[in-house]
């Protein structure tokens, strides 16, 4: 019961008034529903990719090499690791360990940025060395760059958001009772991670 250990007294105490508690419920539910619809967006593109992949041209299509699994595995571990650090950032916040929270958040941002760097490296390699492009490489380029690019954009947004969280936390915007921004950031970051589990398996492992 992590929550109980910091929320002393009733929900009315310490500035977490009834209005905040109820509004937080609404925002939480709204945010989860937003993630659901975002998930549908990814699912649609994943469906498109699998549909095109099975349309009889073989995979990878002629003229295109397999993706580099070793590098992707390493890069994925960076992102998965950032999921774990983010989880502990929220845990530490709930337990009131502010400095540990800040360090975990910083680790998360570094790992997320590292993943983006790895993806940039992979893109460059594909485009420069293997002449694979978004528009000129048939359904491979279309599905790979669209899906991973969309995911990369989500990671980028996440890194920006976590940086804002870091600054806000340093400025004392969040309190022991009112920290929905941190919860939402954690939910979003986990979501981005989990999408990558799916993308990693369908692009690199099958």
């Amino acid at each position: 019961m992590a929550v109980a250990s910091i929320a002393h007294g009733s929900a009315h105490g310490d500035g977490a008034d009834q209005l905040y508690v109820e509004t937080r419920e609404l925002r939480l539910q709204g945010f989860l529903l937003f993630l659901v619809s975002d998930c549908v967006l990814f699912s649609s593109f994943i469906f498109a990719y699998l549909y095109l992949r099975n349309s009889g041209q073989g995979w990878p299509p002629p003229g295109i090499k397999r993706l580099d699994v070793a590098f992707a595995a390493w890069n994925s571990v960076l992102l998965f690791g950032s999921g774990a650090t983010m989880h502990y950032a929220l845990e530490n916040w709930k337990h009131g360990n502010f400095m540990k929270y800040m360090w975990m958040l910083i680790f998360t941002i570094i790992l997320g940025a590292g993943f983006l760097g790895g993806q940039a490296y992979e893109y460059t390699h594909l485009i420069v060395a293997e002449h694979v492009s978004w528009w000129g490489s048939g359904i491979f380029g279309a599905s790979f760059f669209t899906l991973t690019g969309m995911h990369g954009f989500h990671v980028f947004v996440g890194v920006c958001y976590l940086t804002v969280l870091l600054l806000q936390s340093a400025a004392g915007v969040y309190t022991g009772q009112k920290y929905f921004g941190i919860t939402a950031g954690t939910l979003y970051w986990h979501f981005v991670d989990v999408i990558w589990v799916v993308l990693f398996s369908i692009f690199y492992l099958i």
Binding site: E22, Q29, G30, L33, V36, V40, S44, W135, A142
Partner: protein, 561 residues
């Protein structure tokens, strides 16, 4: 859980939280965060688009007066019907029923002060007119020509407006998704104490079944549109078979949205009808629970039948049968609703007001559209009439005879809640009869035109079909005059209509318990609910409404500022 959360609300929470009334014209009526104003904004904007796409419809019918056309060129004709279809679906019917009536009415009916995210609500509204203008401005650069479905590869050949179309519909989709999220949260979390799910008015059930569809299905369409846009603008191959893409992929992605979209367009109309019928028959709705649950069943099943639009598209034959049978099965909950509404009339004290006429007309026309829907679901028969005027007749019966009749019923019923005045009943009845007769004259002949061999999307046609096409065109003018009567009625009644008072129809749902138009805070005190609103022989199932129609100021809770 839901009951607990409803009863949890007390003075310190959202229920007691009254925003200060916004000051100034812009904050009040333009960038308003009040759900009622936003609902009215949706309705006005959508009716403007309705007028524009109605003009496009009359252009279509005028072209088809003669077998070899001649009113506009084939290029223009193709643009006209494509924009007509897209605008009617995305800029008229969906915004009217969800953003419009949804925003305006259901927060009042569940006893809430506003929707869950008022700012988000404002955002979703303001995306909508922008997208609408984008869609209509595509005429300037060559509008899309491949119909509202825009099948590639022909849409890949279309002029620049097709990309604009994709962007515009994408934006409407974003607006719908945000609205859907907003409505689901509002309906789940913000019901008044005692307003359990099984005590919600049926209009709320209609919205509750629709909102998840808005949220989920629209996102799938967004993906399809984004891919089309990328293919057209950047040449990224998704659909072009010469580059390895698949044109059938678009059809899957498009119909995975667009079949649920059909239910987005009809479920809220079901809700409106289920409010109007008991009020004017002065008796409880027949089979409340069956109507509510069949809405949910239809919404759920709507995700599993999309391929029935693709029986001729080269779908694997073994896939056709499950889609056919599931589609037939949707007829069962729909039939239950129709029978229940008919039974609601039995033994009533029926007041044949304009709203009631439109509700009864809705049942008559929607049933016809539903039956032809069964025809189209049967694979062997669909292989005959798919892509013909039979399909055009079918979906106009469902969308115009169904959804739009529902919209008009709602307009006559809830106009007092928007303006404080009643619409003129005489003009309303003229509107109904012109519209009803004109509608049937326009779309009934299309059934046999299609069966005998007139395909869709044609600017010219075989001379043997000329008589019935002329008949349809002339009838469509009658329908158009009916709609003009409606617009005149609205414009006249806003200024000079009879004052309605809070409850002109003796309605029993919560929106009638407060003044017309309601205060910006809706309720002075959030009421407590004890039962269904449809028991006419019982006292009203609410407490806490005593001060609503008095001059007493609203009770401000501690949390208010």
């Amino acid at each position: 859980m839901s009951i607990e959360s409803a009863q949890m609300t007390h003075a310190g929470g959202i229920a007691g939280h009254i925003h200060p009334e916004p000051q100034g014209f812009v904050r009040r009526y333009v960038f308003s965060i009040d759900h009622k104003i936003i609902g009215i904004q949706y309705i006005i904007t959508a009716f403007v688009f309705f007028m524009l796409s109605g003009l496009l419809a009359e252009t279509i019918r005028t072209q088809l007066l003669n077998a070899n056309g001649g009113f506009v060129s084939p290029e223009t004709y193709n643009e006209v019907y494509s924009v007509h279809g897209s605008a009617m679906v995305w800029l008229v019917v969906i915004p009217l029923l969800t953003g419009g009536f949804g925003n305006l009415i259901f927060p009042l009916q569940i006893g809430a002060r506003d929707v869950a995210f008022p700012w988000l609500n404002m955002l979703s509204f303001w995306i909508f007119p922008v997208a609408g203008l984008m869609l209509f401005s595509s005429f300037l650069m060559g509008a899309p020509t491949a119909g509202w479905t825009e099948y590639p590869p022909v849409s890949l050949q279309g002029s620049a407006g097709t990309s604009m179309w994709a962007a515009a519909i994408f934006l409407v989709g974003v607006s719908s998704t945000l609205t859907g999220i907003n409505f689901v949260v509002t309906l789940v979390k913000m019901r008044a104490p005692g307003m359990t799910f099984t005590r919600m008015p049926l209009f709320c059930w209609g919205q509750f079944a629709t909102a998840p569809l808005l949220m989920i299905a629209t996102t799938a369409l967004a993906a399809a549109l984004a891919a089309l846009f990328m293919e057209r603008v950047f040449g990224v191959p998704f659909y072009d078979p010469t580059k390895g893409g698949s044109p059938v992929l678009w059809q899957h992605m498009f119909w995975f949205y667009s079949h649920p979209a059909v239910y987005i367009m009809i479920l809220p109309a079901f809700g409106i009808i289920s409010e109007v019928l008991p009020t004017f028959a002065r008796k409880p709705i027949f089979g409340y629970k069956l109507i509510a649950f069949s809405s949910m069943a239809i919404a759920l099943a709507g995700f599993m039948v999309w391929a029935h639009h693709m029986f001729t598209s080269g779908l694997a034959p073994y896939l056709q049968l499950p889609f056919m049978i599931l589609t037939f099965a949707i007829g069962i909950p729909t039939g239950i609703k129709i029978f229940s509404w008919t039974a609601t009339l039995w033994g009533g004290k029926i007041h044949l007001t304009s709203a009631m006429l439109f509700a009864i007309g809705f049942i008559a026309l929607f049933t016809c559209g539903g039956i032809t829907g069964i025809f189209l679901a049967a694979v062997p028969y669909d292989l005959d009439v798919h892509g013909t005027y039979f399909v055009v007749a079918h979906f106009h019966y469902v969308l115009v005879g169904g959804s739009l009749m529902g919209v008009f019923a709602g307009m006559y019923y809830w106009f007092p809640k928007m303006s404080g005045r009643l619409l003129n009943e005489t003009l309303g009845k003229i509107h109904f009869w012109l519209f009803f007769i004109g509608f049937n004259g326009t779309f009934l002949p299309m059934h046999w035109l299609g069966i005998e061999g007139m395909p869709r999307w044609v600017a010219t046609y075989d001379p043997q079909f000329e008589f019935w096409n002329r008949f349809a065109s002339v009838s469509s003018y009658v329908m158009g005059i009916g709609i003009l009567v409606f617009f005149v009625n609205v414009l006249w009644s806003i200024r000079a209509g009879k004052k309605s008072g809070p409850n002109p129809w003796n309605g029993r749902t919560l929106e009638w318990m407060i003044p017309s138009p309601p205060h910006y805070y809706n309720f002075k005190n959030i009421p407590t609910v004890y039962g269904l609103p449809y028991d006419f022989s019982h006292p009203l199932p609410y407490t806490g409404l005593e001060e609503e129609l008095t001059d007493a100021p609203p009770a401000l809770a501690a949390g208010a500022h």
